[in-house]
């Protein structure tokens, strides 16, 4: 790979351009290291996001050589085989500046998909007993680790084709709540996730599953929502 990385970084807003930088190669270098180097030593005006640096928060998600990734968990050696890197903000979202995308629409769809817990009317007398081995708990567990990084959303073709599509993360979260036996909001939630903006627009490309850094499978969750909404429709509850 040589001694220098040739890095093209998106600068500006939607009407911006790729600007080249030369970054020295280091042992065990991540893409986040590269971005940090550019901002500290080459151009302090570069805007980008990070927080934990250790693959827990998802803040550093960006488009690296055309693919959405967590830059702190992407070793340069894995992606810059010919010594070249192209860095852009997450796709499918408006650009605030440089490598920082506006996540508002992503979280707003989370709300629209009713991805929040709805408690039952009265405070229960005792703790809910939820055996971890039950099918519903296992289904919820499979999707519960999502930290809302936006990588799946940025990788989804349907999000690109339909601006109203709620997207894999929001629908995955809704599915975990559908499977939460303590939740009381399913009647409204199933109405919110059904239809053209919801689960029925998913065509199982599984790009979300391919790219999710936590190996969550939103396609499977969305398939669950398809079954749940179908049963609701057949029972006249939708």
């Amino acid at each position: 790979m040589g001694e220098t990385l040739h890095v093209a970084v998106w600068r500006g807003t939607a009407a911006g351009r790729l600007v080249p930088y030369e970054v020295p190669v280091q042992e065990s270098q991540t893409v986040l290291d590269v971005v940090t180097y550019i901002q500290r030593h080459l151009d302090p005006s570069l805007s980008y996001r990070f927080a934990c640096r250790v693959g827990m928060c998802g803040s550093c998600a960006m488009t690296v050589n055309g693919v959405a990734r967590w830059t702190c968990r992407t070793h340069v050696r894995r992606v810059a085989r010919d010594g070249r890197l192209e860095l852009k903000p997450l796709e499918r979202l408006p650009v605030i500046k440089d490598l920082a995308a506006d996540m508002s629409a992503f979280f707003e769809k989370w709300t629209r998909a009713k991805g929040t817990f709805v408690p039952q009317g009265e405070l229960p007398a005792d703790f809910a007993v939820v055996p971890p081995g039950t099918p519903q708990r296992r289904a919820a567990d499979a999707g519960i680790e999502c930290i809302g990084c936006g990588v799946c959303y940025a990788s989804c073709d349907v999000v690109a084709w339909k601006p109203d599509y709620l997207g894999p993360a929001a629908l995955n979260r809704a599915w975990t709540l559908v499977n939460d036996v303590r939740d009381a909001g399913n009647a409204e939630r199933l109405k919110a996730v059904a239809g053209d903006a919801g689960c029925h627009s998913c065509h199982s490309h599984q790009s979300c599953f391919e790219r999710c850094p936590k190996a969550i499978d939103p396609t499977a969750s969305i398939a669950g929502l398809k079954r749940a909404t179908a049963w609701a429709a057949l029972r006249g509850e939708l």
């Binding site: 959405a68 499918r92 490309h205 790219r211 398939a223």
Partner: protein
Amino acid sequence: MSWRARNHPNFWAFAVHRLSGLLLAIFLPFHFWALGTAITGAARLDAFLAWSEQPLVKLAEVGLVTLLALHLTGGLRLLAIELLAWRDWQKTAVSLSAGVSLAVGLLFLLNIF
């Protein structure tokens, strides 16, 4: 969106399924029209079948049978994903689908010559 991000088996399974469905949906009315010539008697249908003996038409028929098999096996994969909810098999299912479809097309090809 970047083709580098799209280039994985399950995306191609979708692309093949959609393209085959589109082509079959366009083909279907012609298929029914050709068969419908039988209403006026066997002679018109035979005339059509004689026309279809040309090598290019036969090749197109092999293509159509393969498209049908591809759409069927791709559809079975989708029904499994949506109704059965197993997850770890998908990539294998894609290869299996492709393999079976090509076998069917080949079988058809061998039988018309």
